[in-house]
């Protein structure tokens, strides 16, 4: 149960008891105190006198029309304020996060950015390739049918315009170059053309793909 209202608090509340704006429990408490306190009862009378005096009718009548005319002229002279319907404003407010949410969004974005950058970094191989890319081929490696006699091999090579520069060495693979290149190294285009000619002969079992085919011509 609350303690009864003290003299000091009652005294402070008297202006609102006098102007009729004290309500509910507080009003009842102040009135109970005033009933038993002569000082507060006298002060309440003084407060009521103040209210009556300040609310008494004016000796002047204020005419609003000239002032309003001036204000309307002022409003007409200025650009109209942007009007929004209540509904649109509510929708806009609903989608506008408060200041703390903006900060959280910023932190989250930065965090996600760092996470993506870190993931990319760690997904990269930790080694570095030290070998240099293979040099352009100067020899075309081919293999013939195993049962092909040496004479026929010579005939296939002659028909395709090729000469052997590397022996088969027990592996059935020969290194050949175009016959017209002489001592100069064969170009990639020449090797490609030679490979095409050799592929047309069914006795050629295998031709090493030219690894540098995808690379541009020097």
């Amino acid at each position: 149960m609350r303690a009864p209202l003290g003299h000091e608090e009652s005294w402070l509340q008297l202006p609102w008891l006098a102007n009729g704006r004290l309500s509910g429990e507080l009003r009842a408490e102040v009135e109970a105190h005033v009933h038993g306190c002569s000082d507060c009862a006298l002060e309440l009378e003084a407060q009521r006198t103040l209210c009556r005096t300040l609310q008494s009718p004016d000796t002047v009548t204020y005419a609003p029309a000239p002032s309003l005319r001036k204000l309307l002229q002022r409003l007409d002279a200025e650009p109209a304020p942007r009007r929004e319907t209540l509904r649109r404003r509510e929708v806009r407010r609903a989608w506008r996060p408060p200041g703390l949410a903006w900060a959280a969004t910023f932190v989250l974005t930065v965090g996600l950015g760092l996470l993506v950058a870190g993931t990319y970094h760690w997904s990269q191989p930790l080694y570095v390739t030290a070998t240099r890319p293979a040099a352009a081929p100067t020899v075309l490696h081919v293999a013939f049918e195993r049962s092909l006699p040496v004479g026929e091999v010579g005939e296939v090579l002659q028909r395709a315009g090729a000469r052997v520069v590397e022996g088969e060495g027990g592996s059935d693979v020969f290194g050949v170059v175009p016959a017209d290149t002489g001592a100069a190294p064969a170009g990639r285009a020449q090797l490609r053309a030679l490979a095409a000619r050799l592929r047309r002969d069914p006795r050629v079992r295998w031709i090493e793909p030219l690894a540098s085919d995808a690379q541009p011509e020097p």
């Binding site: 003299h7 000091e8 005294w11 402070l12 509340q13 202006p15 609102w16 006098a18 102007n19 009729g20 704006r21 004290l22 002569s38 000082d39 507060c40 006298l42 002060e43 009378e45 003084a46 407060q47 006198t49 103040l50 209210c51 009556r52 005096t53 300040l54 609310q55 008494s56 009718p57 004016d58 000796t59 002047v60 009548t61 204020y62 005419a63 609003p64 000239p66 002032s67 309003l68 001036k70 204000l71 309307l72 002022r74 409003l75 109209a80 304020p81 009007r83 929004e84 319907t85 209540l86 404003r89």
Partner: protein, 194 residues
């Protein structure tokens, strides 16, 4: 006729509706709202500044804000609290600017004010007017908002943008000073303030 000081529910609802229409750009609603507030604001501000031209300037500055910002009013306070809060800030600015100007006797402008027969108690009101002038402006405003316009303590705190206890303190000091200055208020008293 004594102006009603307590803003009834119907009045508040009516003013809310007017502000909603003002927010939509309704000039008629704006004019109605202006007329509703002009008299009490003119009296309040003229008593405060002693210059009707300043009071008129403050009223129009206040309603200029009302016209432009009605859409921002969300009804969290009574319309009178919102409008008088704007007026309070405008009045303070005008009061400061006015205090720096040389004194001009423009208290009453004959083209907009007309005298009426003085009512009973006019003498006391004059004395009270002089006593109020002796109070600091914040105390004077608190007195007028409470006794003249009939606002609650919480409403005055909202209008003056200060804590409730500050309102009580301002009124406490104002009351003590008015008692000393006005024998009519102090005469029947035998007790003293706590």
């Amino acid at each position: 006729m004594t102006e009603a000081t307590y803003r009834g529910t119907a009045t508040v609802a009516r003013e809310m509706e007017l502000i909603r229409r003002v927010a939509a750009g309704d000039r008629r609603a704006f004019e109605e709202l202006y007329h509703l507030y002009h008299r009490r604001m003119a009296r309040f501000l003229t008593r405060l500044t002693h210059r009707y031209d300043v009071a008129e300037e403050v009223i129009n500055d206040t309603f200029w804000v009302v016209w432009r910002k009605a859409g921002d009013f969300r009804g969290e306070s009574a319309p009178s609290t919102w409008i008088l809060g704007i007026a309070y800030r405008k009045a303070r600015s005008a009061f400061r600017a006015n205090a720096r100007r040389p004194e001009e006797n423009l208290e009453v402008l004959p083209d907009v004010l007309t005298h009426e027969t003085p009512a009973t108690g006019a003498e006391l009101r004059d004395w009270l007017g002089q006593a109020l002038d002796a109070l600091p402006v914040e105390q004077r405003m608190a007195v007028q908002l409470c006794y003249e316009l009939g606002h609650s303590c919480e409403e005055i705190a909202a209008i003056m943008n200060c804590p409730v206890n500050t309102v009580k303190t301002r009124l406490f000091h104002a009351r003590a000073k008015l008692q000393r200055l006005l024998p009519q208020l102090a005469e029947p008293r035998t007790g003293t303030a706590p």
